[in-house]
């Protein structure tokens, strides 16, 4: 008997064959582990000021493996904390945009006609709102908090997802199996969530993977501007902002978090690319 290969097993096989994607996956896995347990390895907490060690260069002997910032806080620990917050916000924001965007787009694509027009015009209106302006508005009206930040980012991120999903759903709606499902009496929610959405998963996964680095960048950008994560909490964005001020005197304060950001974004992009090739082999 021929060994069975499902859709996902096939995709996994193609993904494993892609060296860049596998390497990215390993790096990301290691990074996540490091972000989770790394701060415990160092003997310094993230928010302790060390007046005698302000702005010291990376040095394995002192225990400040990647140096300290201008307030004498350990950069290794702070970068890991920052990466943790950046990753968590990006993942949550992506999850939020995924849920809203997929539902919104699938409903629009399923319903078509007037409902579709209304839903998509609403998306167009939100698109037209300047993103940063919207976030600044939110931070003024409400208080600054990491929670608000991820709501604000997520609220913007789902728009593109909704468009992508709606387009895919519209093409799926013309397929015979949807007609067959409707002909056998499946209601709208059953058709959408059992027959349309699972068929979109490939596209959605790829898009989500490529969305995570965008979210990290947006969060870093907002924190860099000072409207994101606030001190003493660290995020990659405000660490880079800190570093930019000391760029000439102590370049490691900039380079460490910036390098971390670059690695994360690179890896997610490579992984997304690999996933796209794995899940959609028709379009190399």
């Amino acid at each position: 008997m021929i060994r069975k290969r499902g859709l996902w097993a096939d995709a996994a096989r193609r993904l494993v064959a892609n060296r860049a994607a596998v390497a990215s996956l390993c790096v990301l896995g290691a990074l996540c582990l490091l972000v989770a347990v790394g701060p415990m390895l160092s003997s310094y907490p993230a928010d302790e000021l060390d007046w005698s060690m302000m702005g010291t260069a990376p040095d394995l002997g002192s225990g400040h493996w990647l140096g300290t910032d201008r307030l004498g806080r350990d950069l290794f620990v702070r970068t890991l904390h920052g990466a943790r917050i950046s990753l968590v916000i990006a993942l949550l924001a992506t999850a939020v945009s995924l849920v809203i965007g997929v539902t919104w787009g699938a409903v629009a694509g399923y319903a078509g006609g007037r409902v579709d027009s209304m839903l998509m015009r609403f998306v167009d209106v939100l698109y037209a709102l300047p993103n940063i302006f919207f976030v600044i508005l939110l931070t003024v009206v409400f208080d600054r908090s990491p929670m608000l930040l991820f709501v604000a980012i997520g609220a913007v991120g789902w728009l593109t997802m909704a468009r992508v999903v709606r387009g895919q759903a519209m093409t799926l709606m013309r397929r015979d199996f949807i007609e067959a499902a409707i002909a056998s009496g499946a209601g709208p929610s059953r058709v959408i969530f059992r027959h349309v959405v699972p068929n979109l998963l490939g596209t959605v996964i790829v898009y989500a993977t490529l969305m995570i680095p965008q979210m990290i960048l947006i969060e870093s950008f907002l924190s860099f501007l000072g409207i994101g994560i606030q001190e003493p909490l660290a995020s990659l964005g405000n660490l880079i902002a800190d570093g930019a001020n000391e760029m000439e005197a102590a370049p490691w304060i900039l380079l460490v978090p910036a390098g971390c950001l670059v690695i994360i974004v690179f890896c997610f992009n490579f992984l997304g690319d690999g996933l796209r090739d794995a899940l959609d082999p028709r379009d190399p």
Binding site: G6, L7, D176, F177, A183, G185, G187, R190
Partner: protein, 324 residues
Amino acid sequence: MALLDVRSLSVAFETPSGVVQAVNGVDLAIAGGECVAIVGESGSGKSQALLACAGLLAGNGSASGSVRFDGQEILGLPEARLERLRGPGFGFVFQDALGSLTPHLRIGDQLAESLQAHQDVERAAAMAEARRMLERVQVPDATSRLTQYPHELSGGTRQRVAIAAALMPRPRLLIADEPTTALDVTVQAQVVSLFRELRQELGMTLVLVTHDLGVVAGLAERVVVMYAGSIVEEGATPRLFRSPAHPYTTGLLAALPRLDDVVDEPMRAIAGAPPRPGQLPPGCAFAPRCERRGEACERQAPALLRNRLGRVACHHPALAEGAT
């Protein structure tokens, strides 16, 4: 009383180039337990007429007239009521079995799904029913099929699975739209005999939409011939095959290649092409291609008149002895 009673059903589609009339005033009654075939060329409106009966027209289509299923008017029924009627009321089998099975669902899930959409059954019970149904439609090795995906099955098996999916909610009326067209001849024969057995076992009412007269001869008790959106002839299968009254039916039967034909003889196709919907000639729609056309044919469309042997819409029907 008829299970499905269609009265002056018309279907129109709104397209960018204007309104296209796909079905023009079809009257048809189908009794419970009957097997009726609807034949005609592509574009004769046979599929659209039946889709309209289940409220399944595309978004730009609209139906007028009356369709009563078991005494209940279907046209104009809200979507939610239609959904409840569809599985247990109508079941559909489509031409493209692979296309009509959701690709990411395993066969078992697929079948259980179409049952669970209508009945509050446990998953395990639905799966058991799915296995029984696969055995009933003679899918070999039913248990292991349950965990397979549609693309792993052969064409014939897929069509059997599609039939099983339609049968899961025990529909009172099964509508099969070109169920054998995509299959090769040996598998066609198997599917035809499967339909025949299922009818005997379940007492199911079957409407067969097809252009394959061989399938019709093997299954249907009654044949309805459609041309350009209207019924042109209707009658019991043996009579219709023996002595067709409408020249179009005659042409269809003559166009059937036969194994005992002389090989060098050209195929007897009906000359010309069917009229485009929306550009029907003023008189009989078939007149431009008809050998028997007369003056009246080009002026006035013939009415569908009932005689002792069925119904025919022709000014010059070829009536066998005993008709009128």
